[in-house]
Amino acid sequence: MKRIAGRLRRRTVTLWTMVVPPTVWAAHFLFSYLWAALMCAKVGAFAAFPTLYVAATAVAIVVIVASGVIAWVQAREPGDAPPHDAGTTKDRQRFLATATVLLAALSTIAVVFTAAPVAFLTDCR
């Protein structure tokens, strides 16, 4: 476990990795919109348990949570005391990782919000 954490911490966090969780939200949201638009325009209905939609939502949440967990480990880089706001490589890493964790949390909530209507609405009216 410690070895895995060490390896994760050595991975660099960048602006690109930071926006992975919200990008997954955006992809899931776009998928939701297109899925509903296509089902309703071309089929006229969607299943009570839409397998494709549920699977896509599950994948989105797994990816977001995974990137959140990785960032959580990276943010908890052991060593010096807080506040971690110095101009060091460690603190820069901690900051980007912390921002990623927070974005992952927001993205998880947003994906759940987006998917919730599918559980309640049953037709294309």
Binding site: T12, A37, C124
Partner: protein, 847 residues
């Protein structure tokens, strides 16, 4: 080539004579052009930014006067101060001006002034691009707003819904003026976005890692990226819109297969992020002034970054909440309703972070802070009604009533206008060296606060009573006369507050200069001296914390005495330091653009294309386009990728960095990449149109309109791929010294690009697709023209690069040109794959 680093002897910064000589050289290099006309060729951010700000402020006052005329008309029932027609023009121009000519440009203008100061840079990376953006903005803005004096202003509302606005029998020249004039301004917004993104990512001072960046810079980065993805769909919509108005291609005409809803989608994909594009930069001002007046670091730095980035993403999932009443399936509405509720989370987080910082600090109740706190109160009311209208069933009741007018004005006054006034009082000493009056400022605040609430709170009630938006009058029997009179009184009260602020600013020249850093702030921009020099910063500091003036020892003195980096301009060139994206390690000294007519001429030429097209003067517009191309090529040829006289330069403290970079480390490469992201987004708007039409038609492509076949589109794709391959091969062989082979490959690339242009258009041409007959041929033609035209631009770029090589302006060591156009070619290939697969292969799949 001699190794200059060995000859370099560090100057003795302890010697006042050395410092004075450095200052003389810097002053000479950064000397602004003078003279009645020449002074307008300036490109320095401190001047262009101020012009930009004042122009945007003037447009705000103009749009405010339009609003006062409207409120005067609505003060009493059955009033006849203005006609219905004039009223339509008034509200359309009020909204359009406030959004396109005030809110967005004001953020760009303020950022052009502040960003280099915040980042300890001498200027932004592309000063001439800022100047070009300003002149475009001025020309386009005057063109659009001036139309009302000729009774020709747009009158279809600020979102210009077709078919009212696309049918030439229902709407006149105003619609064209809106569409073309504002498209022109969108170009300048995208230019500003490029400038600001590259500025934040590449022009930070050494040591300012991403975790030390001022929050204002974070917000600007986020907002500029939003512009890249939000404005291009509107540009795509504008293209379709004008094709319908000028050429009768039926994109939004339901009788020929089009759909007015497509415009609503494209408009609001722009329009909703736009709300956050104008809100976040104003909130960014709070992130700067709240720590100053709490006299402590801002709490929750990563949380604020989360809020900015999270809001930016979520704001792209909200657009349909403007379309709740259009009859889309409820499941679609629910997705957008959910995202609209979710966006309240990051918005709330930043407000709480500000409150927490004030709570934990020793608050100084200054005038700027008063505006900041007051605006949060007003914004929160607008936010709460926002959560209400984000719920679809409530929205159906409130849609198109004054309730929505109340909501959006609370949001924009609390989220944009009052924060800008806070910023005005906070940053006025930075720009003029003088403080504004606290007495006038505080009095004006209370007048504004009372005026805003008196004007807009009653609108919630008049809306719920049933008053629709955009009516020029109402009957007395409706019983909303009192509420409307209150709104009118409030609007004039509010205008009185704005007038007080104008008076305060006008009195400023009579006042004495204040001290340096009058608010005792901790961030870099306050290094500015009341008697400001044009060089931006005396020496570029090494940053070790978020509030260097508070926390780094002797910081100000060290900057002033040139003890940090780049304290001199030995070669008589305008320079700034380029650093790496994540950790801000110095990687280059960039030579910056100097005062020039070229940006202004380019803006005039490009403006003429849009303006002449409005009046259907197509041949003159074409001449304008050729002039634009000539101006752009001159600009690039004379002002970019210049081979330096020596490979590297010492910047102090034993550091020597290159004077030239190419590829992904260079700012020019990033500018190309960012521009092409915007271009690809506009293209995806057009592709969205194609598939949107597919979803609304049971059979698409329609049986009556076969074409364009598979052959020509696939040939065009193959030719584009050949052009791409030749360019990449040219880049690689060139880097290895094969200059002759690279030139030959570029020539092959030119031919392939031109051939792809022909083949792309041949498909729809030979199969006889008539774009006026039905929306299918129209959208196929549009995709083909877009892609083929991009092939033509590729040929120009390849020709330019070839000419640069032959002229000796590009060598295997200094090869930025070919590396930059390869970025373009990558995007071109992507465009061609999507476009030609869509028009060539998708019909086979769909049938």
């Amino acid at each position: 080539m001699t190794d200059t680093t060995l000859e370099y002897v560090a100057p003795d910064q302890n010697d006042p004579a050395v410092r004075a000589a450095q200052e003389d050289r810097l002053r000479a290099v950064w000397k602004p052009p003078s003279g009645l006309f020449l002074r307008w060729t300036d490109v320095n951010n401190n001047r262009v930014g101020v012009w930009y700000t004042l122009t945007a402020f003037a447009f705000m006052l103009f749009a405010g006067i339009l609003a006062l005329i409207m409120r005067a008309q609505l003060a009493l029932p059955n009033n006849d101060l203005v006609t219905a027609n004039t009223f339509n023009q008034l509200f359309t121009l009020h909204g359009s001006t406030m959004m396109f000519l005030f809110a967005v440009p004001m953020f760009e203008a303020v950022s052009i002034i502040l960003l280099p100061q915040l980042l300890g840079a001498r200027d932004l990376p592309f000063p001439r691009l800022s100047a070009f953006g300003y002149w475009s903005f001025l020309i386009g803005g005057v063109f659009v707003t001036g139309s009302i004096f000729f009774d020709a202003a747009p009158d279809g509302g600020w979102f210009m819904y077709p078919p009212l606005t696309t049918r030439t029998d229902l709407s006149g020249l105003g619609a064209d003026i809106w569409m073309l004039g504002l498209s022109f301004i969108e170009v300048s917004s995208v230019a500003a976005a490029v400038e600001l993104i590259v500025g934040v990512l590449k022009c930070r001072p050494p040591g300012m890692r991403l975790n030390l960046m001022p929050l204002y810079a974070w917000y600007i980065l986020v907002v500029a990226v939003m512009i890249l993805f939000a404005f291009p769909p509107l540009i795509a919509g504008d293209v379709l819109f004008e094709m319908e108005r000028l050429l009768d291609w039926p994109f939004f005409d339901a009788s020929r297969g089009g759909d007015p809803l497509l415009w609503q989608h494209l408009f609001w994909i722009f329009g909703h992020p736009e709300v956050y594009i104008v809100f976040l930069p104003s909130i960014a001002l709070f992130a700067m002034l709240i720590p100053t007046f709490a006299q402590r670091h801002l709490l929750g730095y990563p949380w604020i970054v989360l809020a900015a980035v999270g809001t930016a993403f979520l704001s792209f999932g909200l657009w349909v909440h403007h379309m709740f009443a259009t009859g889309l399936p409820k499941i679609s509405l629910a997705f957008f309703s959910a995202a609209s509720e979710a966006v309240a989370i990051p918005t709330g987080i930043q407000v709480f972070a500000f409150i927490a910082t004030l709570w934990a600090g020793r608050v100084i109740w200054s005038t700027p802070l008063l505006y900041a706190v007051g605006s949060i109160a007003i914004f929160t009311i607008g936010g709460l009604t926002g959560v209400m209208v984000a719920i679809a069933p409530f929205d159906w009741q409130a849609h198109d009533t004054y309730f929505v007018v109340a909501h959006l004005h609370y949001v924009l006054i609390g989220g944009t206008l009052l924060p800008l006034f806070a910023g005005l009082y906070y940053y006025w000493p930075l720009i003029t060296g003088k403080k504004l009056s606290d007495r006038i400022g505080r009095a004006a605040f209370w007048v504004l606060f009372a005026g805003a609430n008196l004007a807009f709170f009653p609108m919630h009630l008049s809306g719920l009573e049933g008053m629709p938006r955009r009516v020029f009058t109402y009957p007395a029997e409706l019983g909303i006369g009192g509420l409307n009179l209150a709104s009118t009184l409030g609007a004039f009260l509010f205008a009185g507050g704005v007038l007080m602020i104008c008076v305060d600013m006008a009195l400023s020249p009579t006042r004495a200069k204040t001290t340096r850093n009058p608010w005792n702030a901790g961030t870099l921009e306050w290094l500015a001296h009341p008697d400001d020099e044009d060089w931006g910063i005396r020496s570029v500091p090494l940053i070790e914390g978020r509030y260097p003036i508070w926390d780094q020892q002797n910081f100000v003195a060290k900057v002033d005495e040139g003890r940090f980096f780049l304290p001199d301009a030995e070669e008589g060139r305008r320079e700034t330091i380029i650093t790496s994206v994540i950790d801000a390690r110095p990687i280059q000294v960039a030579r910056l653009g100097t005062p020039s007519f070229v940006p202004m001429i380019t803006a005039v030429a490009l403006g003429s294309v849009f303006i002449l097209t409005t009046y259907h003067l197509y041949w003159l517009a074409l001449a304008g386009a050729v002039a634009t191309l000539a101006a752009v090529l001159t600009w690039l040829w004379t002002g970019t990728a210049e081979i330096p006289e020596k490979p590297a330069k010492a910047i102090g403290h034993g550091l020597t960095v290159p004077l030239y970079l190419s590829g992904p480390a260079a700012s020019g490469w990033w500018a190309m990449f960012i521009t092409m992201m915007a271009d690809a987004t506009a293209f995806s708007g057009l592709v969205f149109g194609y598939y949107f039409f597919w979803t609304i038609h049971p059979v698409f492509p329609p049986v009556a309109h076969p074409g364009p076949g598979i052959g020509w589109p696939m040939a065009a794709l193959a030719l584009t791929a050949a052009s791409w391959g030749a360019t990449i091969a040219a880049r690689e062989t060139h880097a290895r010294g094969g200059v002759a082979v690279a030139r030959a490959l570029l020539a092959v690339g030119i031919l392939a690009s031109l051939a792809s242009l022909g083949a792309g258009l041949a498909g729809p041409w030979i199969s006889g697709l008539d774009p006026k007959a039905h929306v299918y041929p129209a959208i196929v033609w549009t995709l083909a023209i877009w892609t083929a035209a991009h092939g033509g631009v590729a040929a120009i770029m390849q020709g330019y690069t070839l000419a640069r090589s032959i002229a000796g302006k590009m060598t295997p060591t200094y090869d930025a040109d070919v590396r930059n156009i390869s970025v373009y070619l990558h995007f071109l290939l992507f465009t061609a794959v999507v476009a030609y697969a869509t028009i060539g292969l998708f019909p086979e799949l769909a049938s």
